[in-house]
């Protein structure tokens, strides 16, 4: 009898608001954010230790145990982890299987790449024109830059979308604004008409495909199939060796991952987080309880899109090149695969999944794994890795729905 009345009051307290919620919900509030989320502390410690270790072993620190290219790979992996936790929040916490978050990642990369390419080409053009007797006009400089950049697609004028590319600040703002607005508009349209479940997945996939097809066109203004290249050369830092630049980006990626992790842990704590999880579990019931489900979903969708774009903006200067193939729908599906393998519904699961699968993938496809000679047939892992990945992914889905990180729970449960 007391149980029943208690639960009744709990429900009513929710409706009345903070005044009476004190009676029941004060206990968790007294505890600090870290105490509520012990994993955040552990994660930050592990990330700091990892960053420090890699830095000390890198070429920049002189010891050169880890090559510069591997530092770049690790830095890129950290960016992938960041986009993976964004994916985990939108899918594992909110239940929206978005197959478009890698598109936001790509847009972030394109936005930052436009400035990198413009500024670097500007420096080259200025150097070339310096020898001229008559100083060039502004229009001549801009024409020369444009024909240098767009010569490959047969154009020689700046398209409208490059209007801000001369300014780093504006272009960084684009990293956030373009994916943010795109996610906001798309999400608003989709959630408003109550598109859910697999329909939403397919719709996001269609959006990604449309974006990729658009970018593939030569007259898209983003160099079509060629994409943007030479992004590893940071304007103004031409004299700094790549070893140091790679470490700087590695730190920036680690910092972004740490901040992103804390941000998401903070957003998902307490009542707000509970609503988000409740939407995942039973959207209709949350709606009946009076919450405006669409706003919550839209917030999460847009926030994660922006974080994905930031991850992309950090990733592509390390990769050096971005082309429309990166934005293709398959990339977003891989993102979902990483999160599923790592374990949905926990942030560190996404990190584990992204790091594990992407590093394993580059190990296998990079020829790091010896071929297996079966006598009648030799298994070359560059050919068979995708087969292995595909089937092991099916196996994880069937036999380990919680992903790799759910193995931790078993360990912890055994100890207690």
């Amino acid at each position: 009898m007391s149980d029943a009345s208690l639960s009744k009051e709990t429900i009513s307290s929710k409706e009345i608001g903070p005044k009476s919620s004190k009676d029941f919900a004060t206990t968790p509030k007294r505890r600090s954010f870290i105490a509520q989320n012990p994993s955040v502390l552990w994660f930050l410690l592990a990330l700091a230790a990892f960053t420090l270790g890699v830095t000390l072993l890198s070429e920049a620190a002189g010891s050169a145990v880890i090559s510069t290219s591997f530092v770049k790979t690790l830095g890129k992996t950290l960016c992938l982890c960041l986009v993976a936790i964004a994916m985990d929040v939108v899918w594992g916490y909110c239940g929206i299987l978005s197959l478009g978050h890698f598109a936001f990642f790509g847009i972030g990369g394109y936005a930052v790449g436009m400035w990198l390419m413009y500024a670097r080409t500007e420096a080259i053009v200025a150097e070339n024109l310096a020898g001229q007797i008559i100083p060039p006009t502004q229009a001549e400089i801009s024409d020369a830059i444009a024909s240098q950049i767009f010569g490959v697609v047969g154009a020689s004028e700046f398209p409208l979308i490059w209007g801000f590319s001369h300014s780093l600040i504006l272009q960084l703002a684009m990293v956030i604004l373009i994916p943010g607005l795109l996610a906001l508009v798309f999400g608003w349209l989709a959630f408003r008409s109550r598109v859910t479940g697999v329909y939403l997945s397919i719709l996001t996939q269609a959006m990604t495909l449309a974006l990729a097809l658009y970018l593939f066109q030569n007259d898209s203004g983003l160099r079509g199939n060629n994409g943007l290249s030479g992004l590893q050369n940071i304007p103004g830092f031409e004299q700094v060796p790549q070893a140091q630049i790679s470490i700087a980006f590695f730190w920036a990626s680690a910092l972004a991952l740490g901040l992103g992790y804390v941000l998401f842990a903070w957003v998902l704590r307490g009542k707000f987080g509970s609503v988000i999880r409740a939407i995942r579990d039973d959207e209709a019931r949350v709606r009946f309880l009076g919450y405006h489900v669409e706003s919550y979903k839209l917030f999460i969708f847009t926030l994660t899109a922006v974080i994905a774009a930031i991850a992309g903006a950090l990733y592509y200067p390390q990769a050096g090149i971005i082309n429309p193939g990166e934005v293709a729908p398959i990339a977003s599906i891989y993102l979902a695969v990483w999160v599923a393998i790592g374990g949905r519904g926990r942030l560190y699961g996404a990190v584990i999944g992204a790091a594990f699968v992407s590093l394993l993938s580059s190990w296998f496809t990079g020829g790091g794994v010896p071929a297996i000679d079966l006598g009648f047939y030799t298994i070359q892992w560059t050919d068979w890795w995708l087969v292995l990945l595909g089937f092991s992914f099916v196996a994880v889905t069937l036999f380990l729905p919680g992903g790799i990180s759910s193995l931790f729970d078993r360990l912890v449960r055994k100890e207690t």
Partner: protein, 647 residues
């Protein structure tokens, strides 16, 4: 009796009359022109030769053109020669009989007409070819004429129509003669009639005739334009098709006004007159804008080292009238041609619309075939099968493998269709049993698990068949196209795919509406729990449905492989379109899929037509349209009503 004899005698006499003069003596009349022909003067000679109507003339003209005629330097007689060792054997110019053997090479001069003369000879030859007994050569002659319409061909062509026996060649000749009359006819009345006859002609040649009659030239004039056959007046302006700058360029060419000094000229002049870091009294460093550059140039022009710039171009341009004038002087002809061109263009537009419609139907049937299997599994089981595209690929590869064993394309196709169904049916059932049935309550995970299978299958196909495209050859009777007129045509293979799609539509409707299996499938679709309480085994139904959907994907694969290439990635080209088709059409309904495929096919063709250079853009816009469409009909075109709609 006497009359008959007389007639026979007359007939016998005719060829004799023709032979009255032999070829050699005919040629000797014009021997100088034939030995050293000139482009300008060869015309009358050719006319005279042709007028003689000598039977061996066409052969002679041909050899003359091919530089095979020789002249003996001694008596200026013409011969053909045969080389035998160091010496030459002379052949008679008419009969090709041996005349003399062992003639020294320097006693003979080869006649080498130049290119212009050879062309003139060729034109003269056309009339012989037009009446040649070999139809192929007659057709060649017609091709030659239609490549380059010329007034001189009209008369010989008209003459040859009378004796033409082949009906299609006769039709072509009449058509061509009509083109020639339209362009070069003697009287205005003839030409107008000929032009009006063209209104039925949608061919490129016919339209070219009209546009050639209507060819215009842009001219600048300061005189009244009444006397010209005017197409229209063009007013130069910044936003007009003729910019002020371009108009001035015309004046430079035609009226000899001073040319505009280009920016390159300005830079070159300044660069050539640099003196101590200054040019025209202005420091070079200050010249990073055009104001200063022009000022420097003007200063240099005042010193006399450069031509002055034209000032006030717009005022100069405004003193002139610019007009498009027809090359054709006769306004009645151009009026008739314009009216006919409008008629023809309307008809061409209508035909293109019909052609586009046929293309859209054909694309829609491909999408329907690709998507219907997906629609069945999605509708009945609520399961998204990302590996559906790979089942399509499997079907196509099955067809390819069958062709390796059965070289007869018709037979192999007959074997491949059911085999592809069987292979993909098996694969589908295996996938359902092993993976999907464990995930029925987790639809998003089904999506990802089937995606895992999809990448594994794709890579497997790549490992087995390689990355290059494999051919799936269609039987000979499916080659070619059904040509309705010059604009509307459709390939037989596309018709076959359409027929296949219709067959499957019928078959599926039959299975779903008329068979026990269909009844049970529909029951499970509407309410699985209730169906299982009525004694239906949903497990078995799910398995069979999944197999059926996959099997149709296999058949779609064979059909798609016949007109596109078979690659390991062909599935992923169709999977998103298939999803779109299902989602737009409405889930779980054959008619919905049909409507979806029809809409997407039509839309894609329509957008491609609006922007033909860019199929990527077409796909982009189509997907954006579909995203918007879902906003207004989230359940698709044909939505299930009532409780069956679920959720």
């Amino acid at each position: 009796m006497l009359r008959v004899l007389f007639t026979v005698l007359m007939l016998l006499c005719l060829p004799v009359a023709g032979l009255a003069q032999d070829l050699q003596s005919l040629l000797q009349v014009h021997k100088d022109e034939i030995a050293k022909p000139k482009r300008k003067s060869v015309g009358p000679v050719l006319d005279a030769l042709v007028a003689s109507g000598h039977p061996a003339l066409s052969q002679f003209l041909q050899n003359w053109q091919e530089k095979e005629v020789y002249q003996r330097t001694g008596d200026e007689m013409f011969f053909y020669v045969q080389e035998s060792g160091d010496a030459l054997t002379l052949l008679d110019i008419e009969t090709r009989e041996i005349v003399t053997e062992g003639v020294a090479e320097d006693a003979m001069a080869q006649i080498k007409p130049n290119g212009g003369v050879r062309k003139a000879i060729g034109e003269a030859l056309v009339q012989f070819q037009l009446s040649d007994p070999d139809p192929a050569r007659r057709a060649d002659a017609l091709d030659a004429i239609s490549r380059n319409l010329d007034a001189s061909q009209l008369e010989p062509l008209k003459r040859s129509i009378e004796g033409e026996t082949g009906p299609s060649l006769r039709l072509r000749k009449e058509r061509l003669a009509n083109y020639l009359v339209a362009r070069f006819g003697k009287t205005t009345g003839d030409r107008v009639t000929a032009i009006e006859n063209l209104s039925d002609d949608l061919s490129v040649d016919g339209r070219a005739v009209l546009s050639q009659i209507l060819r215009t030239k842009l001219v600048a004039t300061q005189e009244p334009t009444d006397s010209m056959n005017l197409a229209r007046i063009v007013t130069p302006g910044e936003d007009e098709e003729l910019s002020v700058h371009a108009a001035y360029e015309i004046l430079v060419d035609e009226a000899g006004l001073p040319p505009i000094v280009t920016q390159e000229d300005v830079l070159a002049i300044i660069g050539a007159n640099v003196d101590g870091g200054r040019a025209g009294g202005i420091a070079l460093a200050a010249m990073d804008n055009w104001d200063m550059r022009y000022r420097a140039y003007d200063a240099l022009a005042e010193q006399g080292v450069a031509p002055p710039r034209a000032t006030d171009v717009p005022a100069l341009v405004s003193e002139w009238t610019f007009a498009e004038v027809y090359d054709e002087k006769d306004s009645d002809v151009t009026d008739a041609a314009k009216a006919t061109q409008e008629t023809v263009e309307t008809r061409v537009a209508m035909s293109q619309a019909a052609d586009l419609g046929l293309d859209a139907i054909s694309l829609a049937s491909i999408y329907f075939l690709a998507a219907i299997g997906l629609a069945i599994t999605f509708g009945v089981m609520g399961v998204i099968n990302m590996a559906h595209g790979e089942f399509i690929m499997m079907g196509a590869y099955t067809g390819y493998v069958v062709q390796l064993f059965i070289p007869d394309y018709t037979l192999s196709l007959i074997v491949a269709l059911p085999l592809a169904f069987a292979v993909t049916f098996g694969a589908g059932v295996a996938m359902e049993r092993l993976v999907i049935r464990w995930l029925y309550h987790r639809p998003l995970e089904t999506l990802l698990a089937t995606f895992g299978i999809s990448i594994a299958l794709q890579q497997l196909a790549k490992n087995i068949f390689g990355t290059q495209a494999r051919p799936l050859t269609s039987p000979g009777w499916l080659d070619g196209a059904w040509v309705i007129n010059d604009v509307i045509q459709i390939a037989y293979i596309r018709i076959a795919i359409f027929v296949l799609a219709v067959l499957f539509l019928g078959l599926l409707l039959f299975i779903l509406k008329k068979t026990r299996l269909g009844l049970e499938v529909r029951a499970v679709t509407q309410n699985p729990r209730m169906a299982s309480s009525m004694g239906i085994n949903p497990d078995k139904i799910n398995m069979l449905t999944f197999g059926l959907g996959s099997g149709i994907a296999g058949i779609a694969g064979v059909a798609i492989g016949l007109y596109a290439k078979v690659t390991s990635e062909m599935g992923s080209d169709y999977i998103v379109q298939s999803f779109m088709t299902v989602v737009v059409g409405g889930v779980g309904n054959v008619w919905g899929t049909l409507a979806g495929a029809g809409m997407i096919g039509t839309l894609q063709k329509w957008i491609e037509w609006l922007n033909p250079s860019n199929t990527l853009a077409a796909q982009t816009y189509m997907i954006l349209f579909i995203i918007l469409f879902i906003q207004f009909r989230p359940k698709g075109i044909v939505a299930l009503k009532g409780r069956a709609a679920g959720d």
